[in-house]
């Protein structure tokens, strides 16, 4: 009742192990029609399924791709993951997940784990690359050693293949659009100072404002965690300074927390204080007031990352996005 082995299939078909292997598991070599059919029939009859680990061992690598994200419950990562999984499944690859909670050590551990699994490649989403860059570089080198590919989704690092998200230019576009709408008084919930994605969104936004001749006072730029609570907390801080104007949170999740803080202060987001986010989380598309934000083709980014796994080494892609103006920034 144990699983049938290739050997048993070969035996039943009356051919050699080699022949059975050639017809059943994508080999370049040809096999005569008759034998081929006999093998196929035998395999079907026995309900044969290849033993993955054995194949991986013989071949030197599995057909697994590792996906490393900070938090799989976050809609941002979730959309990327959906794109990755869809593309991988279409290619016959299997996706295994690891989460880091933004902890560099865990990222390293997962990378090592995937190396040990002999994964074909790993996709690293939004890796913040401050300290411990050396360790990371070493682990990536080790991964390359086993013939694997590491692709990034976020910003370029070294010359690794990357699916870059045009955070900076999109933030600039958003700022311009907001300025065009007539906003003149801005604040920014900037996220963690060491997170490149947050930096780019902030600096891009500032650049767009500058083009419109608008400046933002330093105390109006508030750092904090990258999530809902971070937005809430940063907004509370901001409310000590102002109760009006337009505030840009570098993430929809942060904007959500910020709006909650605004309401808790007895004010109405979108009326007393205009609010803009970034990411365009799907769930938020249907709520009131609609949140002005930047839509990102995240599934597409995931798909592209899978493509890069088997592309020319060093190739890269850039995905853009589009500004979505909604009620939260509509001036009366």
């Amino acid at each position: 009742m144990a699983q049938p082995t290739l050997y048993q299939v070969a035996e039943l078909a009356g051919v050699s192990l080699a022949t059975a292997s050639r017809v059943l598991n994508g080999s370049a070599r040809q096999v005569g029609e008759d034998l081929k059919e006999r093998v196929l029939a035998a395999a079907q009859q026995l309900r044969y399924t290849a033993n993955g680990p054995a194949q991986a061992m013989a071949r030197g690598h599995s057909n697994t791709v590792g996906l490393i994200v900070a938090d799989i419950a976050d809609p941002y990562f979730t959309q990327i993951a959906a794109g990755v999984v869809a593309a991988a499944e279409a290619t016959g690859l299997t996706v295994t997940m690891g989460t880091t909670g933004r902890n560099p050590e865990r990222e390293l551990r997962h990378l090592a784990g995937f190396r040990s699994q002999r994964a074909r490649g790993v996709i690293l989403v939004g890796s913040r690359l401050g300290d411990g860059e050396d360790e990371l570089a070493a682990e990536i080198a080790a991964f390359h050693d086993i013939g694997g590919t590491v692709v990034l989704i976020s910003q370029p690092v070294g010359d690794l293949p990357v699916v870059e998200i045009a955070n900076q230019s999109l933030a600039t576009e958003l700022a311009s659009a907001l300025a065009d709408q007539g906003h003149t008084d801005f604040s920014i919930l900037a996220g963690p100072a060491d997170l490149v994605t947050a930096q780019h969104r902030t600096s891009g936004f500032l650049a767009g404002l500058a083009q419109a001749g608008i400046e933002v006072a330093p105390e109006r730029i508030i750092a904090g965690p990258f999530d809902r609570d971070g937005g809430h907390q940063a907004m509370e801080q901001l409310l000590d300074i102002t109760h009006s104007g337009c505030v840009f949170a570098v993430t929809d999740a942060m904007a959500l927390g910020a709006m909650a803080a605004i309401r808790e202060a007895g004010l109405t987001p979108g009326v007393d204080i205009a609010m803009a986010g970034f990411d365009d989380i799907p769930t938020l598309a249907d709520v009131q007031p609609g949140l002005t934000t930047v839509n990102l083709p995240l599934r597409e980014a995931g798909r592209l990352a899978v493509d890069l796994l088997s592309a020319e080494p060093g190739s890269s892609r850039t995905v853009s996005g589009r500004v979505v103006l909604r009620d939260s920034t509509t001036l009366p």
Copy 2:
């Protein structure tokens, strides 16, 4: 530059392959302190990492657990996945994902794939088990053949271990709470007729209403897809019949779509039409009007499923939840 093998580690440490294996990879057997240290040192020096496929092959199974969900971008599955991944990582297990889009064939394919990978277990979330139950049963049997465990998250099927979600009783509680609030006129966006989860939520809700002496006319129970668009569509249909009362969507996502439809009709959800959902999607906790719903400990469910992987065969767990009353059903 290729990865060092256990043999090389053993050689460098001056011990046998077996000894090296015993110290490096969790074996029950003891090894002398001195040798142990030498092996450890050698391994570290060589940056040794075990070859996963080779281990899996020798042991007969990998330490992978497969997670099969309908859609990994859906907050419901996403929370469960977060729980699964967290628990698995804590146990040294690796999670590989497969998505089905609610297609039974793909579910089968993934199950076969995990079997071929010699996964230790697979967690099947919300499998709808209408047709093709035989095929599924056969595949599950085959999976058991390789010594794996299949655990369900949803409703019991056969005597497989299951993390059951108390949909029915929670829906009853919700209905009671709503009736207590003074609602008397109800409609239901019931989801797909063949989805057990949807059925339970609907029948439970009806039961709760019945306890309060309230009946719902059959034409007020509208079937449709289980997602945002399904809710939208069902609500449009319902709007032909009524523009008031309290409508229960069996899913927050559906409630979201329904509220959009309500707004498109020029009405205000929470004012003209009360709205209740189910699931308590995190992102929705901060929006206005707050959606009355049922909070489910989904991460916990994921964690429990991982526990069941190595529990007594046939064990099960039930997770409940709690009704969360918010503005969307507040009567003036």
